[in-house]
Symmetry: C2
Subunit: 254 residues, 2 copies
């Protein structure tokens, strides 16, 4: 049984890529098979693991039907963790797919073959609500929304959850909101505390695990490593481990 999770939020810079990579790595370290799908034309998830796709072997080629799943999945350098890398071509997919039949279901169809091999598929989304994010939300069973502990990130949450509702009603009835994840929490500022309180008040299914702001998390991608491999004792590495355990506990309850 594979659980496909979209990591999405229209607001930029809230920790979508960082969460995809580090939650993926934490689940893999607990023995679960994880596939990361880089579905952002910025290809930050691919860069974070120092993976550059072979020509014609990226997530763009997969959804346009130019390559098969087996051709695009590559190792990440971490055990139990594989990735389908992205290139900037993916920005073109929004336009190329706009008039295609079943344009919202391309990723869902393309990932159907993956069910047997992984426990989790994590899809990193771009900061928008265009066709790429809609494809990810349609392919996913669940969605995790990273929320930076700052005022502007709070502002846009209502808008984004409206979009989720539209996708659920029109494209993917089973889509569940797995939870909101508070990120870049800085306990030295009252702003972080205020935003965290506000988010928990409006969204009861906010994860207990909170990811602290930690420069080590921002350094890890430049070494092509998840935080657990770069600095396992850093506060962010520990927090992503707690998140993975919290998810698995809830999974058991589900």
């Amino acid at each position: 049984m594979t659980t496909a999770i979209a990591v999405a939020n229209q607001k930029g810079g809230v920790g979508k890529t960082t969460t995809t990579i580090n939650l993926g790595a934490a689940l893999a370290r607990l023995g679960h098979g994880v596939l990361i799908v880089d579905f952002d034309p910025q290809a930050n998830a691919s860069a974070s693991l120092n993976v550059r796709p072979e020509p014609g072997r990226s997530s763009y080629d997969l959804v346009l039907g130019h390559a098969t799943l087996l051709e695009v999945v590559v190792p990440s350098g971490q055990e139990m963790l594989s990735i389908i890398p992205a290139t900037s071509d993916l920005a073109g997919a929004e336009i190329e797919l706009a008039a295609a039949l079943g344009r919202e279901f391309r990723l869902k169809t393309a990932l159907e073959g993956v069910a047997m091999s992984y426990n989790f598929v994590l899809i990193d989304c771009p900061p928008s609500v265009g066709l790429l994010t809609v494809n990810a939300l349609t392919a996913a069973h669940e969605v995790i929304i990273p929320v930076q502990c700052e005022y502007l990130a709070l502002e846009g949450l209502g808008q984004f959850t409206n979009t989720l509702e539209l996708v659920r009603r029109n494209l993917n009835r089973g889509l569940r909101l797995r939870g909101l994840l508070l990120t870049m929490y800085d306990r030295r500022t009252t702003l972080s505390q205020q935003v965290a309180d506000e988010v928990r008040r409006h969204f009861p299914n906010t994860f207990r695990a909170v990811i602290p702001r930690s420069v080590r998390a921002a350094e890890a991608p430049s070494h092509g490593l998840p935080i657990q491999a770069y600095d396992p004792s850093s506060p962010a590495a520990i927090a992503y481990g707690e998140l993975a355990e919290e998810m698995l506990r809830k999974e058991g309850e589900a």
Copy 2:
């Protein structure tokens, strides 16, 4: 003579909105007439000034031709600073304009009437390279690219400058890169220093002014104020003042 400047970068969370608001306010305090155009469906620039548009009077209505310039420009609460607010409807404009004639020139045409009343028009862009950002880059004389001093923000710069080149060649021959602005610089980390050095090495026209990471900058939007009004002595307020002066000096040289 009005200078229209797009504040743009595909990477999310790098300080586009914060720069639009605070550079706008700094230029206004130096006596220049400034119009802010919120061209992001997240409407963060509007929220940062506590401005919510009347129904039918937003940047969406302007580019779709439902409202005139005079109907959509509203006061910001700051002297010499006005704004055209946004709503989430703007996300629909990407789809609605996709098949329209002259779809890339809608904002440029809509802003033509503004030339007589403002010295600067600053356009806040969403974190993407879709039709909204292309409209902003086509309407603008210049572009400012905020770059967060972190590794992942560095990764995507090459891709974004390629997009600028495409717009310059096909839609707006006169588009100039006014400069790259280093934001959220944290002098306690070597990461910030490394990224800043790297950006200056590749892009000679990086502004001398550097915006430091300062929680006061993140708090100001929740009060609906630019940083100069919220905390004029904060490092970020001083830095945006320096940026405004540096721009005006170069303007004199241009």
